[in-house]
Structure formats: structure tokens, C-alpha cells
Symmetry: none
Subunit: 223 residues, 2 copies
Amino acid sequence: MAKKPSMGRQKIKIQKIEVKNHLQVTFSKRRSGLFKKASELCTLCGVEIGIIVFSPAGKVFSFGHPNVESIIDRYLSRNPAPNANDPFHLMEAQRNASVRELNQQLGHILNEVEAERKRGESLDSMRKANQSHYWWESPINKLGLEELEQVKEAMEELKKNVNHQAAKLVNASATSLFMANRAGVFDHYETKPTHGVVTSNINNIAAAAAAANGNFGYCHGFF
Amino acid sequence: MAKKPSMGRQKIKIQKIEVKNHLQVTFSKRRSGLFKKASELCTLCGVEIGIIVFSPAGKVFSFGHPNVESIIDRYLSRNPAPNANDPFHLMEAQRNASVRELNQQLGHILNEVEAERKRGESLDSMRKANQSHYWWESPINKLGLEELEQVKEAMEELKKNVNHQAAKLVNASATSLFMANRAGVFDHYETKPTHGVVTSNINNIAAAAAAANGNFGYCHGFF
DNA sequence: GAGACTATCTATAAGGG
DNA sequence: TCCCTTATAGATAGTCT
């Protein structure tokens, strides 16, 4: 069997790619790469980043840590803080109730993962104390351990995110209701393809980055 | 003359850099790299991108093509605006988006866990094929494998639950909001782009990128 | 369109001025 | 803080599945 011939990576000029299909592939790959770089920057330097990308087709892709909205708010400088007597407070209890259940579930799983990770650690030290078994040195195990840590991190982030998403839900509801009420129109609607904005945050990335092939799942095609 | 000894580029773990000085260097380099990648993506694929970075010191760095503000406007108008007249549609969309994000996150973690489990399986078969390493036989590993499966199951359950809880949450919010709104305690928000931050656009980058050392001029130090 | 695979190209960690 | 160098880790163009 002959080796597979490959031209390998070729140098390209940084100019508009004309071949549509080619452009799509490049966009997808580089977008992933960009988001991954961003997530690494977040982790390494503890900074907050927001990225928004509009594809030629008008599709939106975004990355945010902790999330795009908060970054934008901060950028636009001082989003007026909600009043103490705003209706958001009225929803606090209910939101907490809903979130509590999810958090509880997450907490259990987190414990599981943490326990697993600890087991991995002890195996790791066994490995270190037993260098003669060289194949233990293979990155497989080490990777496994690291991945578990990543999973744990991702889980913890997710846990936080449950709260965040819940808040977002409530806020969005509030805003739209307010706007609608102001306009005095409740029965009008239009069918603009409200394609959900693709949002990713560092958690996804962190987890995905550790994955075998560096593939992120947060961008399901569309372009 | 002896060759200059250099460790060359070393591998680093993607985790918070503790050494302040080191962090600063890395932040600077990677920020530049990120912006350069973004500018290349703009050129290659003709997309529009906005990036906002808050350094640990609270300094703002941004990249935008054509400029950050327009990206933000577009981003903000894309979410709430299309259905401003129909709060229920918006809530629906928002709910879907929120749930999607959580689900996505969960999906990623699930994949992680699954990958980990698979690795465990292959290690397991290696173990079987290599009985000489008797301590591999310890139940620790086997146990880990089984636990991972449990984690996976739990995650899948959780994933289902996300939808359910979100629906509950939105309903509850809507109800209380209507009541609150009737009471007339609403405050409206607006987006005002006011700030003097460091902003760069693709032109700077493109020019700078071509410059001798890849240094961009849009970041005058500060950190 | 998303993954996988390689050969290459590019970014960057260290270290020194 | 910026600039430069080196060696290497990491990203990715081209291709096929």
C-alpha cells in the first residue's frame, strides 16, 4: 500500500477566497480556530472576551466569556442597572425554584466526575512510581486524566450557566413584554426566520478543545 | 562561537498563568495573534467580525470590521428586534436559544464523557492483552469505567430535564411579568455606544500584519 | 457540510538585548 | 515594554470520506 499522497498545508495569500465551497471550508475551520484561540486567551490570562461573526450569508456566530451579552453591555458602558423595585425581583423565587432542580442534578453528576478524577489522580501517581511500565507513559492515560478535569470544569461552568440562562430567559421575556406593551400591540407578528443566534462560550470550547481532534460542536453548520 | 542555546517553544497547559510578568507577555502576544487571525478571516471569507477583550486590568481592546459598533448594533438588533411585536414568539425563540445552549454544553460534556469511556474500554482491552502488568487488573479502572457510564446516563437525564425546566420557567416568568407590567413598574433600556477605547479595524491589522514584526499599532501597551 | 488525515505553514514560549 | 531569535507546538490547506 502506497502512502497517501498529500500536498500538506500550502501557503495561501490572504485575500478573498473566490471558490465558494473552498471558502466555506476555510470559514468553518478558521472560525473554530479563532474561537479556540479566544478561549485559550480567556483561560491563560483570565480575561473576558466577546466575539461576533457575521458570515457572508448573514448567519451569526458568537463566542463569549462569560457571555457575549455581558461583554457588550460592558463595552457599551454601564447598562442601566435595574431598579430595586423592578418586576425582575418578583420572578426571583420562581427562577430559583426552577434552577434549583437542575443545579441539584448537576451537583450530583459533578461529584461523580470529581470522584472519578481523583481515582485518575491516584492511578497517575502509581504510574509515576512505576516507570518501568513504559507504556503507561503513553499520553492516553494522562489525556484521560486531563480530560476529566476539563469535563469537571465544563460541568462547573455549566452549573453557573444554568443560572445565567435562566436569568436571560426571564430578562428576554421581560423586555419583550415591556416593548410589546409600550407599542400596544400584542397580536401582531411576523415570520422573520428567527434563526437562533449561535452562541458559544468558553465552557464549550474548553471541553471541546481537549477532545481528540479539536473539533467544536458549537457551530452546527449553517453558513 | 557556540550556538545560541534556546529551549524553543515549550508546551504549556491551558490554565491561568500565575506569573504576572509572563501573563502580560502572553496576553500581548496572543491578543495580537487573535486579532490577526480575525483580520485574516475577514479578508479570506469576507465576513464581518467584532471582538472585544477586557484585560484583567479592565483595559479594553477591540477589533472590528468594519467596526465594532456596527457589529454590535447588528447583533443586538438581530435578537430582540425581529419579534418585538410578538413577545411570545420572542420568548419562544429565547427559550429555544437558551435551552439550545445548555443542551449544546451538555452535549459536549457528554461527548467528552463518552470519549473517555471509550478510551477506558480500549485500555481495558489492552489490559486483557497484556496480563503481565498485573496491577492493571486492579478493580479501580474497571470501576471507573462503570462510573463513567453512570455519569453519562445521569447527563442524558439532565439533558431531557433542561427543556422541561425551561418551559416551566418561561411560563412562570410570563405570568408574573404580566402582573408586574400591569402594576406599571417598568424601566426601559437603551444602547448607547459611548466610550473611548482602543479600537482597531481590519485596515490597521492588514497593514500591521505586513509590517516587519507583526506588531500592531492599535495597542499601545497598557494592561 | 462535518470529520479525518498529513505535510506544511504559522504562532508563540523562552530567553536575551 | 518592545525587539529579536530559536525551536517547537499548534493551526490548517488540500484532499477524501
